[in-house]
Symmetry: C2
Amino acid sequence: MNIWHALIGRPLKDREEQAVRVGVIEGLSVLAPDALSSVAYGTQEILIELQRAGITALWYVLPISAVIVVLLTFLVISYRQIIRSYPGGGGAYVIGRDTLGADASLIAGAALLIDYTLTVAVSVTAGVAAVVAAFPVLTPWTVGLSVAIVIVLAILNLRGLRESARAFALPTYLFIFMILLMAVVGLFKPLPEAPPWHSYITPPLGAVGLFVVLRAFSSGSSALTGIEAISNGVPIFQEPAPTRARTTLLLLGLFLGSMFLGTSIISYRYHIIPSANTTVLQQLAADIFGRGIFFYGLSFVTMAILAIAANTSFAGFPQLSSIMARDQWMPRMFLSRGDRLVYQNGVIILALVAIILIVGFGGNTTNLIPLYAIGVYLSFTIAMLSLAVKTWRNRTQFSKRAVIILVGMGLMGATLTALVVIVSLITKFTQGAWIVALALPLLIWGMRKIRRHYRAVADELRVTDYSLKPVPAKIVAVVPVNSINRLSIKSLSVALGLAEEVVALHVVRSQEPPHQFEERWEKWNPDPRIKLAVVPTQYRSVVRPVVRYVDLLSHQNPENHVVIILPELIVRYVWEHFLHNQLALTLETVFIFRKNVTVMIMPYKLQGH
Amino acid sequence: MNIWHALIGRPLKDREEQAVRVGVIEGLSVLAPDALSSVAYGTQEILIELQRAGITALWYVLPISAVIVVLLTFLVISYRQIIRSYPGGGGAYVIGRDTLGADASLIAGAALLIDYTLTVAVSVTAGVAAVVAAFPVLTPWTVGLSVAIVIVLAILNLRGLRESARAFALPTYLFIFMILLMAVVGLFKPLPEAPPWHSYITPPLGAVGLFVVLRAFSSGSSALTGIEAISNGVPIFQEPAPTRARTTLLLLGLFLGSMFLGTSIISYRYHIIPSANTTVLQQLAADIFGRGIFFYGLSFVTMAILAIAANTSFAGFPQLSSIMARDQWMPRMFLSRGDRLVYQNGVIILALVAIILIVGFGGNTTNLIPLYAIGVYLSFTIAMLSLAVKTWRNRTQFSKRAVIILVGMGLMGATLTALVVIVSLITKFTQGAWIVALALPLLIWGMRKIRRHYRAVADELRVTDYSLKPVPAKIVAVVPVNSINRLSIKSLSVALGLAEEVVALHVVRSQEPPHQFEERWEKWNPDPRIKLAVVPTQYRSVVRPVVRYVDLLSHQNPENHVVIILPELIVRYVWEHFLHNQLALTLETVFIFRKNVTVMIMPYKLQGH
């Protein structure tokens, strides 16, 4: 426990909770990196898809980016609305649950949990891959480095959110500043020469192909993943939490929108053609500022923001899983907050699964990148649809104009996001989308099983009738006695204290003198209430005869409760533990499946040494 | 347990013990391979050492082998005498204990245990190395194959000695037959041509150097390692065990002596010069029978006998460690015989340590070969010296001639074997003998510590005074209650049955409504004997307040025995286990160090599912 507390800090009291929550500025650096980091690849994904239809098709980056920013606006407005309605957090999951029912909410919740897990694995390995590309000497440690980063993230988050907020504020805000600076300079800096290949004339859609545009749109949509995190994690903000969460979301939307749109426009203005050797952001930086400090600074900060994007999941996963655990879809352990008031089991499980993914994929998780969008966009669709339905149901509470806007926006948003899900599933099925198509139903099936189990247990344990009261059980104590010593005396003393009927059980092996112990016992004559039972055995192990005797005893009197008292020597040093028989543990394991039989391990602490 | 029994067979009763013991023929194939396999390298070791002093020095293989066979005769006579005196087995350890005292016996016992462990690692890897040399495609699996063989040996020996006796009879007797056949044919077959380099004249000793001869002698002595195994494992023979053991030892001595002497003589007759590419046995087979079936057959059988030499250790180690455990030098667990009447912990520990050695040395344990002799010869020295001292002390019981023979032989044998220990330690110290020089004192130190611990515990627990009787303890039952349900009702029923004073302990977290549970409790009003204690906490974990309350309780009344009753849900499937809190286990771990506090885990078996 001391090592544990040295790692995660001293236990906190409940009233210290406000102090561990975050404000708007910190909240942005905890919950925004996932979304912001997608600026690093959003525009690039669109350009790569368009390039397949020829270089003139690159023009479409402009309208596609515009549509994505419109979708971003819808999402920000919708999720701000959702935060207002659900100040306890939970985002798409809770609004889906209350509006569309359990099935929809399960899909949204499970999809997000999968997405959060993938995000940790993918973004950490992406960051490490960038570092390893820069320093090839690190190649053998690729997996080790990734795992180490996940562990560091987990520890930071077990200490509390503010710790990671502080650690990650600098790269987050530096990334925002650098991208915006580049966008502004890139927009207004005079171009060195006239563009050689584009005509500023819209190429006809037919020439490009609707499907290419749809693919480019759905790939570019990955830029919006991560903006749901704030709505899931409302309770991590200081009070008034919903207000602060809404402000943070608005800021995130403004930053993300302008960064993404700016990047897309200047990449068109500078005729960036995606290349395998460098990123679009690097090409832009080189074209606008030259290969100087800004170029290398931006490369480094991009690397950092990719790695800490994982941190957003460490905020989102534990919050969402605790909300789903409250609804009994997840194991109860996700509900328990640790000494640092964090849902520590969520943090630990997330880190473990991410580490398994990283190790399983040998540190190369680029294959998982296409999976990102599907889970998040499923939850977007459910959130938008829920919002439309919810607004319509409560339409009397809104002005007519608000109803039209919210319902219209919700339906349009749901259609657009559903489109992204369908296009991604189709185009990326063989590239890995099948994993989500497989994992999602499995996870939902598991969650249903969990809930059924909890329901059944609760039904069985429930007391509806307060006339049901405890009735003193008749206790029979059984004390296995090997020889007469202080250990047996103490066990028998406790046995006499707790039961009317005490049996001292002595097992005699066939090659031992049969009556020796009985004679000693009679000479000792400890207490008239203790009955001595001598059980012969043909076998070597004493477990079998003890089990058989106890089974017989509880068969004769099923109403009795048999308590087997087993002394266990408590030694001072760990190695001494191996010097004593572990009969107590063995018997405890055997009897745990018997009804009305309990093993009581009585520690006997050795004094002298 | 089912998998376990499928592996090792059904449990056996004590009266079935005779059936699992071995006769002379089987005993030889269990206990002889270690000694017999040394024929594969004994002569070769002598030749390698002599070769350093020039080719004429090879003549010395004859007198050296003769001295070794004399030593073998001494050892066989002595150990037959020891078996007669100690029909319970234990060899050098028990005769050393009774004659020279605890220190000498500890040295002999510890040296043999180390030797048995090394034998397993070395002989298995030697066998695998031979196979891998024949089939280089297996190279990547060297370590895996060695570990697998150790596991198979362990399982065979857990099933019982007869199993391994049956499995290994064929290669053992085939090896004996082939070597003896080769010796006889090699002795009498006319030589094709006159010897070119030797003169049949004894080279002067000064020319060779006394030290070279001593080294050759001590290297060749490794041929005798393994003959002590029978005296350690007397109890594995069918009754009359000592007679059968003595017969087996005599047979082993005759076989080993004639095989070893025969090999040495024909290797001189055929002018074998040791080579790095082939073994002396292979050279002999090729010269005498040509490179035909016999040559390949002998190579294969030699490989097999090297590998199964490890099996001798699996018979010797568990027997010796059980005898030393009875004297409290080893942990008690080595005393417990399993369901198959084998000292199973000895088998398992031996296999584990050997596997650690194999993996640690990367499957290349040739460096450990020189260590063989030291441990065994230490035990030989102690056995021979003990025999001399013992005979002298009891000289009145023997005829004068017998006393002279036994004492003289014991002293001469002790001198010769001590010489081997000293020469081996000096010449092979840097080659690995330092490991024995380090491990032996360490092991002895550990054994002394173990005995001290057992003595101290026994002193503390001993009851010398039969007037000391159990006094009923005053029991206070504490039942942590979270809510009113069947679980708490059952726990409280058991609590009422076993204690006068029952406390229902409810922990309220600071953000929960403080009096809600108390009101429900009063409405329920379960039993006037149950006192409700509501403990508020500022922290998240309920462990802290429960521990604090119980500590206070037992501080107020140190005479009371506090029993904490913790219900634990017993689920049907393993995965369901993770759905419930493991509070019971946590509290059991915390309270195991408290005096007069016992945790009673009350299993509550769920019915419905």
